[in-house]
């Protein structure tokens, strides 16, 4: 466990010292959400309808943008070789890195999302469920993204490919997340969708690190 926390802590430290922590991801998220009214017009009734979906799309783009560095930096400087040989199972190392990734991209979005919801005229009663949906769904985004990042880890320019591989994998999470937000915005009960979102995250928690670690071992060959 000591190794697990050390790795998560190191990734957080690196994120704060070089990438400004989650600030850049949040900035991207905010800018994307702000661009929406420019694209579709400022009518509040229209914006309030598309707000949950737009927030989710902005969230998954923000999450995806930081994915290609998730493993690649460690593969390039040789740290991944040493992690693979360490007593910490590679699957747990992947999980630790996903945790750090979520803390620097997913978690800040939870705080930024209500602010952006105001600008997109989302109905007040939907704020709670929307944040809850993001809290339940964004860990799955980091975990699923790890599979794509693992598959492209050994490539010099894997960025676009990572996106092409990962975005279709995000479809179920996006649909359920937006459904939860929409249900709450139209006064319906969002709990079934929240539960399904939670179920996806719970299933991803053990399975995605397993697959991503297998992909990483390939990249190290």
């Amino acid at each position: 466990m000591r190794a697990f926390w050390a790795l998560a802590r190191r990734d957080l430290t690196l994120a704060f010292r070089t990438g400004g922590g989650g600030a850049l991801g949040v900035a991207f998220f905010v800018i994307t959400a702000v661009l929406v009214p420019f694209g579709v017009g400022p009518k509040p009734d229209l914006l309030s309808v598309i707000a949950p979906g737009m927030l989710w799309i902005a969230a998954l783009l923000a999450c995806m943008l930081t994915l290609d560095r998730l493993f690649q930096a460690d593969v390039e400087d040789g740290s991944m070789d040493l992690l693979a040989l360490s007593p910490l199972a590679l699957e747990l190392a992947v999980l630790a890195k996903c945790l750090a990734h979520w803390l620097t991209t997913g978690l800040p979005l939870l705080i930024a999302a209500p602010v952006m919801a105001i600008t997109l005229s989302m109905p007040g009663e939907a704020y709670g469920p929307m944040v809850l949906a993001l809290a339940l769904g964004t860990p799955a985004l980091s975990l699923i993204g790890a599979i794509g990042a693992g598959l492209t880890a050994g490539m010099r320019r894997g960025g676009v490919l990572t996106a092409v591989l990962v975005l279709p994998l995000y479809v179920p999470t996006l649909i359920l997340g937006a459904l939860a937000g929409n249900a709450a915005a139209s006064g319906l009960d969002p709990s079934p969708y929240l539960m399904l979102l939670g179920a996806i995250t719970l299933a991803c928690l053990p399975l995605c690190p397993l697959v991503a670690a297998a992909a990483l071992r390939l990249a190290l060959r």
Binding site: I144, G154, L161, V164, L165, P168, V171, L196, L218
Partner: protein, 239 residues
Amino acid sequence: MWSFANPNKFMRVSGKVLPYTAVLAVLLFAAGLYQAIYVVPPERVQGDSARIIFVHVPAAALSIMIYLAMCISSLVALIWRHPVADLSAKAAAPVGASFTALALVTGALWGYPTWGTWWVWDARLTSELILFFFYIGYIALWDAFDDESKAAPAAAIFCLVGSVFAVLAKYSVELWETLHQPPSLTIGGEENVHDVYHIPLLMMMAAFWLYFVTLWLVRVRMEIRSRRIRAIRLAAARE
């Protein structure tokens, strides 16, 4: 199946099978198309437009079947390092992708006179579209690696992960569709078409399937030959 692990054996057997599947495919296409175009009467509800199922349904059904076959191939390649299995999945992918594209295009063409619009976010069309993205990702992943021995397992992993998420996406799309109230007319009412449609449809399905098998055999043979070319070149570079 294990004897085909030897590419030489695969080449010998596939070379013998190939002419038969090709001829059978041509015959079935001829018979099926004759039935579809001339013999089958207009359908009760959908009229003549129902004739489109003879190309739309086989393409859609095979696009799913081919992905399943790729999954099985990938699993075999990953677990037993079967040296033809990874090439088999690689050879099938472009065929599957083109069937998926066909299913989408014919679906849209069918939708226009039926719904008055080319595209509807109908659960089946949407799932087909997502499947198309998985094919694209699979093919792109193969192409992105310089080293085939690295590309094969990576693509196999993506194929298997993709199958799980394609199923998840299908169910979430269905859930999403029921909440967004789709048009009342669903296309491809295969369930309620008249009995006289069954035999020609089966013939067309078989024809598409044999077309796939023929093309797949040609492509696997091509991939094995390319591997031999590469091996000879490397052997020459070594001397």
